[in-house]
């Protein structure tokens, strides 16, 4: 991706925690990214023809099983094959199941710079290279 494409790439936020969504929204919009958001992965998949995310940030749902996380990740991969996935974790939550399903991980509480650095690092990794990024 060119510098300009990285700076203005589209990010899809998936989650229902209004406070977290607002924080991420303002951080990412102020940083120059384009944003869309859906409440669930199923809604994102349904709207896939209308969305063009380079990165998907999904808030790992409490109580989600490993199999549910795997299925959700598979549906996102199928709907958005070019997008990289970031999972937002709560340390003691079941969202840990997402560890194997996302290229990037962000743990609550996170610093603004962690979020931006993680997104940018995923956008600048060359397509096809295997990577894993973890921010605490």
């Amino acid at each position: 991706m060119t510098d300009s494409a990285v700076r203005h790439a589209a990010i899809l936020l998936i989650g229902t925690d209004e406070r977290t969504l607002r924080i991420m929204t303002w951080l990412l919009l102020e940083a120059g990214f384009e944003l869309a958001k859906t409440a669930t992965a199923a809604e994102a998949v349904e709207r896939a023809p209308l969305l063009t995310p380079a990165v998907i940030v999904i808030d790992g749902a409490p109580g989600e099983t490993r199999e549910e996380a795997r299925r959700t990740a598979a549906s996102l991969r199928a709907a958005f094959p070019m997008a990289r996935r970031v999972c937002l974790h709560t340390h003691d939550g079941a969202a840990e199941h997402w560890h194997a399903e996302a290229e990037g991980h962000l743990h609550r509480p996170f610093h603004a710079d962690d979020l931006l650095e993680l997104i940018r690092s995923l956008l600048t990794v060359s397509v096809g290279s295997k990577s894993s990024h973890d921010h605490h």
Partner: protein, 108 residues
């Protein structure tokens, strides 16, 4: 998909419009006026929602520059008076539903 770039210098107003348009399902970006033209050149949106207190002549000139950079972009002016060159005009105070309706009308 409709991408909407919201251009506004007042941060609370910018956030109100950006958040409201995201809630309506748009892919949204935002820019302050000084960086807006560079942003449109870098990645042309489908729609620009434009609200600034600049004099009408300055607004019209900026709209003209947007069009030169991206001829297909549709421009919605949010202000108290019609601005030359805009595709649609939405009166103040800012109402997200009115902006969404203007975008939908232009999209159709």
């Amino acid at each position: 998909m409709s991408t909407v770039l919201v251009i506004e210098n007042d941060v609370p107003a910018l956030r109100l419009m950006a958040w409201g348009l995201m809630e309506e399902g748009f892919e949204v970006g935002m820019a302050h006026v000084p960086e807006a033209l560079e942003r449109v050149r870098a990645k042309a949106p489908d729609f620009i929602v434009f609200n600034t207190l600049a004099p009408a002549e300055q607004k019209a000139a900026l709209i003209e520059e947007f069009r030169q950079s991206s001829p297909s972009v549709r421009i919605i002016d949010v202000s108290d008076s019609d601005t030359a060159g805009a595709d649609a005009h939405v009166a103040l105070p800012i109402r997200v539903d009115a902006i969404v309706n203007a975008i939908k009308r232009l999209a159709n």
